[in-house]
Every structure is written in C-alpha cells, then in structure tokens.
Symmetry: C2
Subunit: 363 residues, 2 copies
C-alpha cells in the first residue's frame, strides 16, 4: 500500500527513523552502564516493546495496570509499574501480571505499600518496590532523608515485597543549560545521601532509576543513577526537539492530514484537531500545536476537535482542498493515545499497520 492510499488523519511512523532512535539510546545505555527500562506509554504497543527488549532493554515500564496487562505480551523479563496502584480490584489484576514476569512497582506511601503487600501475599507472589523520591517536581515522591528511610523500612517489613531501590523524575528540567548542569550535580548528591541513609539501616538501594527526556543524553552525569526509563525517544516530537534532545529529522511519528477548507484567506483547515493531536501545548512554552516538516513556514495555530487552523503566513505554496500535510505533534504520547492504529512506513510505502493495544488503558 502507498502512503497516499491511507485515509486521513493517519498516524504514521517512519520505521527507519524509529529503529535509529531505538539503537541510539540502547547504545548510549550500554556505553554508560545504565540499565534501560523504556516507558512504553509513548508507543503503547507490545510489538515495539519487544523490539526495545531485543535491542537490550532490561525490561519495560508502564503507568497503569491495564497497560501492564497489554505489555506483558512483549514478554519483558522485568516490568515496572511506575505509578502507585491503589485499590483491591486493580491490585488483584496486577498480581496476575506478577505471576508472568518479575514485577516491580514505584510508590511513595506506606498506604500504597501496605495494599500492595496484602495483594502480593494473597496471590503468593513477590513484588519489587522502588521508593519514589521527589527531587523538586512536587508531584509524587517522599522527601529524601527521614521520609525515605521510614518508607523503605516500612516496605522491608511488609510481606510479599522486596525493596529494590529508588526512583525519581526531574520533570522540571526543561532544557539543558548551566542551571540544568548544577541540578544534575545536586541530584547526584541527593542520591548519594539517600543511599548512605539507607545503607546505615542495612538497606541496599540496588536500583536508582531516574532521568527524563530533556536530560536523556546527560543521564551519565547524574552520579549514582544506574537506570533510565525514557519513553518519547522511540518517536520524538515537538517537545523533544524544543528540549534540544533531537532534531526534526529524528522525529519518527507524524500525522498525515488533508486540507478540507481554504475559505479564509491566509489560512487552511486540516482534518485533524485536538481529537487527532491532543490539546497539549509545548511543555516548555511556545506556540503552535504541531510542526509541518515539509512546510516549515506553516503554523498550526489553533484547534477545535476536528479542525486544525493552519496559518499559511509567508508560504509561497498555494494549498488546495485535498492536499495532504504531514504534521509532527507536540506530544506524541498523547497523540498516540487518540489513534486506534499506526502505520509503519518506509518512504512512500506502508509496510505494516499495528493496533495501539495499550490505548485508553486508564485503569
């Protein structure tokens, strides 16, 4: 099938760019002795999880139990649920997953640990636990120091659980500048203190899992961190370009749209809006809802659910109804969650189509 035969809006992935992205990060991890446990929320596909494992990932990461149930199909030797799982029904489902792989969960409260322990003990499985610490994002995570020690000690005492180490997410660092370098150094100090606090109580933090997409290529500068969980790197998007992590040429995923109206001068309407791209703005600020690599002069300035308002600005090109425009989304994880299927392409050829099996797994 040719790419022009796809009905739009169609989410396509350039398979060569994706493969190069996967290899680059796998090589980086190997080079710096960083365990790679990719977050699969970006691609939501066991097919691609399997490829990540084949290239050397030690395991996979998910957020929700429903995602774990899907991603187990990739047969990961280790699966991390990087989100506190709360509630008896959900935990019972998660224990079924724990019977099929080495499961671990990141959590930040003794309440979550106690619930998990109860479920693990009832199911007769052992679940690894990472204690989530907050290095400054202010989202989840206990404070390094006595809070972390108390949580780790609590986990150690609970049946069915095995304390593995600590996890953090410095999502507040948006670009790499002097302040970012200082922050990486500060985090390294924090991690050393955490480890020695725990060691003083006879608790070993074997895994120190962290990082973020903007920090990806600088992960080796965070002293003491030995695992990374990048997600977006498989496709990249407007956010990773804005963060300086990659260039537009490294963006594997884009949406092919069709011009459906040219009624307003200086503007064209494409058949993809927030239902196709999500309403996510650029994480670090900045305008526009996507980037047209073949027409960089265009601005996807505004969206309704089914309408993308593209300002043609200084474009010398005369767009006509039926023309196709390829758009790289700001946030590919959110866009992926809006599509039932994705088309893998090489040049003009559609080589395979896969279901986004982990889409919409909210629970």
């Amino acid at each position: 099938m040719n790419i022009t035969d796809l009905e739009t809006p169609a989410l396509v992935v350039d398979l060569d760019i994706m493969e190069a992205n996967l290899r680059k990060v796998a090589d980086y991890g190997r080079q710096h002795n960083l365990r790679l446990r990719p977050h699969t929320k970006t691609h939501k596909s066991p097919l691609l999880g399997r490829r990540q494992l084949a290239l050397g990932a030690v395991g996979l990461t998910v957020a929700k139990v429903g995602e774990a149930e899907v991603m187990i199909k990739a047969e990961p030797p280790e699966l991390l649920v990087a989100y506190p799982t709360i509630g008896a029904r959900k935990l019972a489902r998660l224990m079924e997953v724990a019977k099929q792989t080495q499961l671990s969960v990141a959590l930040d409260s003794i309440e979550a640990a106690t619930q998990l322990s109860g479920a693990a003990a009832a199911a007769g499985v052992s679940v690894g636990v990472l204690a989530e610490i907050d290095t400054g994002l202010g989202r989840v995570g206990v404070q390094p120091g006595p809070e972390l020690v108390a949580l780790a000690q609590g986990i150690e005492r609970l049946p069915g659980l095995k304390f593995l180490g600590i996890e953090f997410y410095p999502g507040y660092v948006k670009t790499i500048d002097e302040a970012a370098y200082r922050e990486m150094e500060r985090i390294g100090g924090l991690l050393a203190a955490c480890k020695s606090d725990l060691a003083a109580r006879g608790i070993e933090a074997r895994i120190v899992s962290g990082g973020s997409t903007p920090l990806l290529w600088h992960s080796h500068r965070i002293a003491g961190m030995n695992e990374i969980r990048p997600g977006t790197y498989i496709f990249n998007d407007g956010n990773t370009v804005a963060a300086g992590t990659c260039s537009w040429a490294d963006c594997a995923a884009s949406v092919i749209t069709t011009v459906v109206s040219t009624a307003v001068p200086g503007q064209i309407i494409i058949d993809g809006g927030s239902k196709t791209f999500s309403s996510d703005q650029l994480a670090g600020g900045g305008s526009g809802y996507g980037y047209a690599p073949d027409h960089p002069e265009l601005t996807l300035a505004r969206m309704n659910e089914e309408h993308g308002y593209v300002k043609t600005g200084s474009s010398g090109h005369c767009f006509r109804i039926g023309d196709r425009i390829r758009i790289i989304p700001n946030h590919v994880c959110a866009a992926m969650n809006l599509h039932d299927r994705v088309h893998g392409v090489r040049g003009e050829s559609v080589e395979q189509t896969w279901e986004v099996e982990g889409r919409g797994k909210l629970q």
Copy 2:
C-alpha cells in the same frame, strides 16, 4: 453494582440529570419551532442518539464519516455530516450510509461539492447539501453574498446533490452579554440577506441551521434560523457552566478518580490527568482542568497524562490515599473520546454500562 465498585478513573453519567437535559432542549425546540438535530460528537453513542430521536429530534449530526457509520445504528431519519468530506474512499463509505438514511453534508467549497456529487452519482443516491457560511468565526464557511450565491448555484448544477439551505456556527460568542444580543440581531440580518440573495436566483434555503452552546437558550432570537444542532447539552460541562448555559447541578457527566498520593503538603494527586480529561482548558479562559462538585474548594490545577494535581487550598477535609473525588471535566466531548465505556448511574447504583462506540472515529 455500586458506584464504589467501579475501578477509577471511571466516567459516569447521572441518568436522571441527562434525561432532564434532553427533555429541556427538546421542549425548547418544540416551543420555538426549531428543528433539533443534536450533534452526537458529545456522547458518541447510538444508544443516546436513539433517546434524542425518541424525544423529538428530527435527526442527528456527526462530523466524520466514521461517526456516521456508528450513528446510523440509532436509525436517524436524517443524518447531517457537519464537516466537509474530502477524498474518494471516505466518500464511498459515506454513500453506504446515504443508502440507509436521508443524508446531508455541510460544505463550503465547490471542490467538496464536486467530489460529493461524483460519489453520489456513482452510488445512485441523492445527498442533501447545506452551504456553510462564516458569520465571524473564521474557521470554515463562505462569505454571505456573492460567494454563497456562487456556491449554492454550483451545488444546484451538480448531479446527485440537493441544495437544502445554509449552516453556520457562531463559536466566537462565548457568553451572553449586550454584545451577544447585538450579534444575534446582526446574524438575523445576515441570514435574511442570504435567503433573499438566493431567492433572487430561484434557490430556496429551506433549512437554516445554526447556533452554539452558549447561545442555546437564545436560539429563538436569531431571526430566520429554524434548526439547532446542540451537542454538549446532553451532559453539560465546565464550559457550559462558564458560558452561563447551565449550573453545576445540570452537569450529568463526571469522572470518579482516586487519590494516589498525598506526598506534597497542600496537594493531592488523583489517578486522572490529561489522558482521562483531555488537556482542554476552559474555552472562554479561566484556570483549572475540572470541578469537584462535592469539594468546590479544590482546584485541579495541573495535569500530566496520568496525574491530576489537586490543590487542597482551604479545604478542611483531610484527604487520604484511596479517597475518591468526582470531577466534572471542562470539555465533556473531549473527555468522552478518551474513555472506552461509560457507566450510567442513579444515586449510588450503576444501572447500565455502554461502549463509547463513536470514540476515536477520526476518519
């Protein structure tokens, strides 16, 4: 099943409030001789489309062909695709729908009309056409005057098409104030001019379809308009409350979430973020991503995909991990598109669960 048995995040609809909302608008339409052709993009369910028809809607409205293919299951006597359908494959699919109901399409270009005519003639069906005019939104639509006349004359000449009238969407009116009253009067004048321009060429605009959610209860003030296509009214949301169209007590749809972290003082994290609610901010400006009717002092201040950051502010309530909080989304259409299923509740009882069959129908 009790509502407490639902795993979260769970999208629930209060069936009594929904029924009252449906009746109120059906009654309003009858009272003012306004044809009601609800936009089903809000609920995306043939089950609910059927209820709208039972209460007196003359037909249903969709945006995309995939939605038409789903909504035909409600057996609407008339189905309007309020979006220009471009592309041979899509049009071939749409003609299959046209064989099952009285189909009409709103469009704003002779290119779209020509494509539609080709498909209709090939399939041996007759398709109604509404010419979309732009009253000031600057999205789609020809200008009233010579542009409209040329489009209508073009449609009249094309085989397989039947010109039915005009459609418009004044989405730029966000609240009802003096300016909104003046705008409704201005639109009434525009519509009269459009009809007389067309009549002078022997073309009758039998249907004049328009309005918007903020203008809903004022639709009868727009002289010459004889059809409304409201969508959000079935559930209502933060936007309809902000527009003054309803109160929080009229909001039928909400998401039940669970507190998963209380690590940061003054804040709780709930298990629903942008993947549950969408990132849509309030259409008319204003902060926050949702409203907690049982705890109005809370602010859903920020979201990541799976994390909702709720500021507890002056709340005297001490929230614990596992507590449930019900949140009314800013934009219920976008939220509905993120959920595979919806639970209809009466009080604490889950009375029925239905699939969001029209979810993700982008094409």
